[in-house]
Symmetry: C2
Subunit: 466 residues, 2 copies
């Protein structure tokens, strides 16, 4: 059933779909990809959507799998840590890891997608069609209904297998939900905050107007501003703010005066380098932030959801693209097992994978609170300082939650979450109770932290009667 | 806006809707209730749905509010604890509380609903219409579209306020979801288990064939059978079993032979008193078990979801009806504040209430695992024994998680969950580490448990940076 002559239809040629097409092309399958948007190599289609993304080790594992590591590297700007900006414009940097070789990258969504499309199309068994929007999927017949935006005509495609990588608004997931042919667990959870993209343009010499190799954060407890660098000297800036709560919110920031007042009060150092603020603010849309989970991802051996279509997450851990790329790695691993049927492939893949995508969804919500609020707490800052020292001194023995999630692609998100949360709890409690401090001998601190972490994990196991 | 001349339209005359109609009738509002089913006082409409339910203190608080305590009491059969049946037919009872006056009740859904309908209709400002199915709600216009099952005609009703108490499959919630006019967070989560109702009929003298005053459980780790008594001498029995996993499951129990084999092996003592097993098994439907959460419950000051329409839960804590009744108590409390607009009423109600209905949803899932599995663990049994002793010895100082949830109607579900989980964790860990035992002095045990519970809560607060 899973042999190479099979016809695989992929819905959506975004980051996940184009990487999947490339990998399945490399494996020799006949792959057809249908994408609703025009070819982004020919038309600018960003339209206020996130134009740069954080790219890190889990994503890179997938890129290595398809042999594009060097090409992707040339698109990346390393970010070694968070640059925190307080309300007076003071900054301090908090690294992502105590190990120098661990950092994340800012990468252009469009450039990366274009590369993957071009590489996929080099395989003559891969065909990509643009301007074809999927309207619905008949998962019992393994057919999909499309509308051709150019001819305005509808047509049906069939295949041996359909894989939908059509993002958070997936048409196939909607068909699962509305079909009511099987028990489909589903959730969409919106934050009360939305986001708006802004920008810091390059200076006159096309240089960066603030420090290039960091993810900048202006944490203000109930809201925040962040900025990631682009190759052209600009930064993409994102404001995360409540729709309706607080003194300033998206619903009441309706005049130039109030927007300027807000930025002057809260982000004075950013305002100075954002002369184009008002243009951006009133031109770009305000968009919601949501988490989507569902199950099952597959219908028998006919259809499968992957990437954001199966598990959309909020952006605060910088893991959305990385998780979708890791889907392809995990799916590829199951293909390599040469199981007899697609149903076995899909079932094995979901059973290995879902616990991990659930975990990164929850971690991403945690990080929302960490970024807008906790990074400004003295005890949190103490914890990070200590973790950097532990990682530097014991590179093989200690990894913070952030490191486990971001730089340890050989353990799953769920394991990273369980261990990472226990460690955080251990350190915060040991610090609060003065059982460890930044002045202590690091070796004895490491041992106390590890012992307390194990005790927390063990207590949780006992309480779970496992 | 919220004055008494307002017309309130209630969709659904189930347990929550009829109680709400009664209470709003008592408060003097003009209330119209539309129910899709026929009047259950005239027609038997059970159709294999749960015919008895657990009724406890939170539900009773609402019943007291409307002045029906004595009448409801006459419909109740007290259940003092769980009667656990092992695979050999041995039984042991585990009480719900160490305080004698704390027990839960088995009550007929139909009898209770009939009482509430009759009481509501005694108010001339309350009108109830049956056989009218709500098709959709226009929450911007505050109108609802109905189909009259008798005339087959559709009609539109408008009102000052619409409250939907139309259960887990709520038509108004569907209108919220499909309308896409505001950010609507929504989840439906199915267990991989389903349920089927069976029965133990009365004996020849209309007596009970097994002990009357208990909730019977046959826990088998991956599945279970339970039984609750009815006033007529019968028990309603429910089998909770996976659809597709395990040696026996709903998908493969398709022959009389396999069903008998399954019961003979797993529930031999139940089988003896269920001569009608095969009839029930093949006549009654297998139904799914799901949790529904959503937010917001209201649209401006126009419409509001209550009861299962807003928060359907799995049945394992016996709190579904109690939570819906408590909704009415909480809503009534907000009405008593005389806020200026319905929007303020709805917003205040949801902000007070949602954290608690989220908590009982999660507790109910926990209890699924507790009932089918943990109750058979030696350490869990030791914990329960100890808790019974603590509750008996220190009735004013100790309440188990079960007691906090079930018998402490003056604290919310969320507080009950946080304190209850911490206590469970404390006791299980203290027992495992031999720091307390059943033989110790109870006073010193209580102090250790309380100290450890506080430490756990404090550690969680610190780890949450709160």
């Amino acid at each position: 059933m899973t042999d190479k002559q099979q016809n695989i239809l992929i819905i959506g040629a975004g980051l996940c779909g184009s990487l999947l097409a490339l990998r399945l092309g490399q494996r020799g399958y006949n792959v057809s990809v249908y994408e609703k948007r025009p070819d982004l190599r020919k038309v600018n289609i960003s339209a206020g959507r996130s134009i740069n993304l954080a790219f890190s080790d889990r994503g890179n594992k997938a890129i290595k799998l398809v042999g594009l590591e060097e090409q992707v590297k040339s698109l990346c700007i390393p970010m070694n840590g968070r640059m925190i900006h307080d309300v007076h414009g003071n900054t301090f940097q908090s690294n992502y890891s105590g190990r120098e070789y661990e950092f994340i990258n800012s990468v252009s969504r469009g450039d990366l997608n274009a590369l993957l499309l071009t590489e996929a199309e080099m395989h003559k068994n891969v065909n990509i069609y643009f301007n074809r929007k999927c309207k619905s999927v008949d998962f019992e017949k393994t057919t999909a209904l499309f509308e051709d935006y150019e001819t305005k005509k509808q047509f049906v495609e069939d295949a041996d297998v359909i894989i939908a990588t059509d993002g958070a608004g997936s048409a196939m997931r909607k068909s699962y939900y509305l079909g009511k042919k099987f028990l489909f667990s589903f959730s969409q959870d919106y934050l009360t905050h939305g986001y708006k993209e802004l920008s810091i343009l390059p200076d006159e010499k096309n240089g960066y107007r603030t420090y290039k190799n960091a993810l900048h954060i202006w944490p203000r407890k109930d809201f925040m501003l962040i900025a990631l660098p682009n190759l052209d000297g600009s930064f993409t800036v994102t404001l995360f703010l409540s729709y309706e709560d607080g003194e300033y919110n998206f619903n009441n920031l309706t005049t130039e005066k109030s927007v300027l007042e807000f930025f002057k009060k809260e982000f004075p150092d950013a305002l100075v380098i954002m002369p184009n603020l008002l243009d951006d603010f009133f031109k770009n849309p305000t968009s919601p932030l949501g988490t989507i989970k569902c199950s099952p991802w597959h219908y028998k051996g006919n259809t499968l959801l992957m990437g954001d279509a199966a598990h959309a997450i909020v952006p605060f851990y910088g893991q959305g693209m990385n998780a979708s790329f890791e889907d392809v790695v995990e799916f590829d691993k199951v293909l390599a097992q040469n199981l007899k049927t697609w149903e076995q492939v899909f079932k094995t893949y979901e059973s290995n994978r879902k616990k991990n995508t659930d975990a990164i969804a929850d971690l991403a919500i945690d990080n929302f609170h960490e970024m807008k609020d906790h990074v400004a707490h003295p005890i949190f800052q103490k914890k990070r300082k200590l973790e950097m020292a532990l990682e530097k001194e014991f590179p093989d023995r200690y990894s913070s939650k952030y490191s486990l999630v971001t730089f340890n692609e050989n353990i799953g998100y769920r394991e990273a979450m369980l261990r990472g949360r226990a460690q955080d709890k251990a350190i915060l409690n040991l610090l609060t109770n003065d059982e460890i401090s930044l002045e202590d001998d690091l070796k004895s601190t490491l041992e106390k932290v590890m012992k307390e972490t194990e005790a927390i994990l063990e207590d949780d196991r006992i309480a779970g009667l496992k």
